[in-house]
């Protein structure tokens, strides 16, 4: 499935994550991640985002994420919202 436009969800508030998604040409899933806890949880955050994208069956998508210490449930929710807004 492909998204058709740019969309975002979430905020830069503490414990939240700002997710911006846009369609790309490469057809792959590309992720740019910034996080205040990159060293401690960077791997986990990446996994959660990519897992949600896969679960929703989306390809050809570039994701920019700015994390302020969001828990996994928040990350998944914001990614889902952004993608739904981008269809």
């Amino acid at each position: 499935m492909k998204i058709t436009k740019v969309a975002k969800a979430g905020t830069l508030e503490s414990n939240d994550i700002l997710i911006m998604v846009m369609p790309n040409e490469s057809g792959k899933v590309e992720l740019e991640l910034e996080s205040i806890v990159l060293q401690q949880f960077g791997d986990v955050i990446e996994q959660v985002i990519l897992h949600k994208v896969k679960e929703m069956g989306v390809e050809g998508i570039t994701i920019k994420a700015q994390d302020k210490g969001a828990l996994d449930y928040t990350i998944g929710a914001r990614v889902e919202t952004a993608i739904k807004r981008a269809f």
């Binding site: 969800a9 508030e13 828990l71 449930y73 929710a77 914001r78 919202t81 739904k84």
Partner: protein
Amino acid sequence: MEKLRRSMLFMPGNNPGMLQDAAILGADSIILDLEDAVSLTEKDSARILVRDAIKTIDYSQVEVVVRVNPLDTEFGPQDVDMIARVKPDTLLIPKADEEEIKLVDTMLDKIEKEEGYLAGSIKIIALIETAIGLATVYDVIKASKRVVGVLLGGEDLTSDLGVSRTREGEEIFYARNKVATACRALKVDSIDTPFTDTNDYEGLAKDTAKAKSLGLTGKSSINPRQIEIIHSVFAPTEAELKHALRVLEVMKEAEKEGKGVCSLDGKMIDAPIIKRATRTVEQGAKLGLIRDEGGAT
């Protein structure tokens, strides 16, 4: 013993930091709000966040209530559909009237069946905040077996009635009375409207005491710092507890001796008094105010 419902704390549904801490703020029930606390452009975001929060966060210590959007908006039905499937304890239905409650009841029947949940397990609290809702509150409660309580929405109600909302609350006197009566008649909880000045603790205590004195069983809150005062108002006082324990003691003795009636301090103890005493002692026990030997702490 059911959970207590002395306090119900409103939490904005689109705020992850608050959703995470909601269960430890001390309130008996938390209301994850998808309605007034969420802007129109973020309704979808909040819905998904609250859904995932309910799935993940340990809310076992509190009653999880979700205030959905009114059913006649584009958001309401979507809220019910998505949220009910993750089994919150209760849905808070805004602008509740008989029709609205019946509608939600039917929706929940369907969803519970589809998801394999026990029929009737998701409860409803009706938010009475319109003139019609208030005028028909008895029927609103009766509209569904799921209704376990009524929450009085003072701000919207007074707006609908075209009157000012004041600190003293005279304008909602009738509403409080009527709600308390209908709820008592149908044996459900009645929750008072929030006290909106979060810096005025004295006013909060007075307002809560007023609600209690009119028969309401709990109060909603918009700020965690209000919870303690609300609980202290709704807790039985030491004197009330002691008296209640004595009543039950005297009653037990009378039963042992085969006596039909008994009296305490010159007053006959009849069924209503025993009932109130039992309720008081039960509440005291829930709050840990009674030592094992049966004396008040």
